[in-house]
Point group: C2
Chain length 192, copies 2
């Protein structure tokens, strides 16, 4: 259920509608209109509106997790790894490829089972970043009094970009990713 071209169109329509209007603010009629079909047609691809939100959320979380793993493998030393992670993670959210935060606020809307799955993926994302930070502490490249809180700060900082980024703004996604990469190293006490 939900990987034909038409289903893909519904998914994209829902991402933009949810991002713009919020879950409750985006009606199924609005989503259907953006996908260029009747409201009833949406239900041939998705069981319910909640199922649609879950589909988006699962999709984007899996993509982000994969990107994180790829980025972490991109360097050797912890600072290199962290640079790569922060750059890619920020880029992802600046490009709005995520729709990740859609479910971030609205995780409470999901079914208990669906919420469990998303939370598990989010824990894995956290784990990737955490492990690099701890490696850096051991090699004394990083210095922080509370690795866990710094980890939270780093990730939420990046994810938040999706909220304020404007395509017509003065910064490109790459500008932001570059700057945030530098900020991350500073936050971890790397003195260059």
């Amino acid at each position: 259920m939900g990987d034909s071209p038409a289903a893909e169109r519904v998914l994209r329509a829902a991402v933009s509608a949810f991002a713009e209007l919020g879950f409750h603010g985006a009606s199924t009629r609005e989503i259907a209109a953006r996908a260029g079909m009747s409201p009833a047609a949406v239900y041939t691809h998705f069981r319910s509106k909640e199922d649609l939100l879950f589909g988006i959320s699962l999709d984007s979380h899996e993509q982000v997790l994969a990107a994180l793993h790829r980025a972490a493998a991109q360097g050797v030393t912890p600072p290199e790894r962290m640079s790569s992670i922060m750059y890619e993670f920020t880029l992802f959210h600046a490009r709005g490829r995520a729709g990740a935060w859609v479910a971030n606020n609205e995780i409470a809307i999901l079914t208990a089972e669906h919420a469990r799955q998303i939370k598990a993926l989010r824990r894995q994302m956290m784990e990737v970043v955490r492990s690099v930070i701890e490696a850096g502490l051991r090699t004394q490249d990083f210095h922080t009094s509370d690795p866990s809180m710094t980890c939270t700060a780093l990730m939420t900082l990046s994810m938040n970009v999706e909220r304020w980024y404007r395509e017509d703004g003065r910064w490109s996604p790459e500008d932001i990713a570059t700057h945030y990469r530098d900020l991350a190293l500073r936050m971890l006490g790397v003195t260059s």
Copy 2:
């Protein structure tokens, strides 16, 4: 319109309902129930649901702005001022006194005129932080390649705390404020 004790109760009920369920997710009946009155009674205090959101937003933005001004006056050197600002700003959001972000996402819901007022307040908040950063650059206490983006990063970092802070978590608001204060100085290139 809206400063009697009963109106205050409605305001608090709406803050919690909006924060928990989102603007569209929180019905006027739900808000009325939380305030301990009938749905119709809400409309003696507020013209509309949008007016209620605006009331909350205006209130919290004015409080945050005042706190920022107070904090900025708390130190002499730019690092001192910035420490104080970041601590207070973060504390405010961790304590959830804001309901600020409620309107942060949902500013699109507001009337054009109401949105203008909120945006103006937000610009003023930004200006307070910006001026301290620029003072620090002149005194060479701070070093950053893009003061404007660093300013955005600092503010969004703090504001985001309201999204993930849990009362039953391992960190107190003061813990977070203290850590974020240190992070802010690092992000601004202060070497201690």
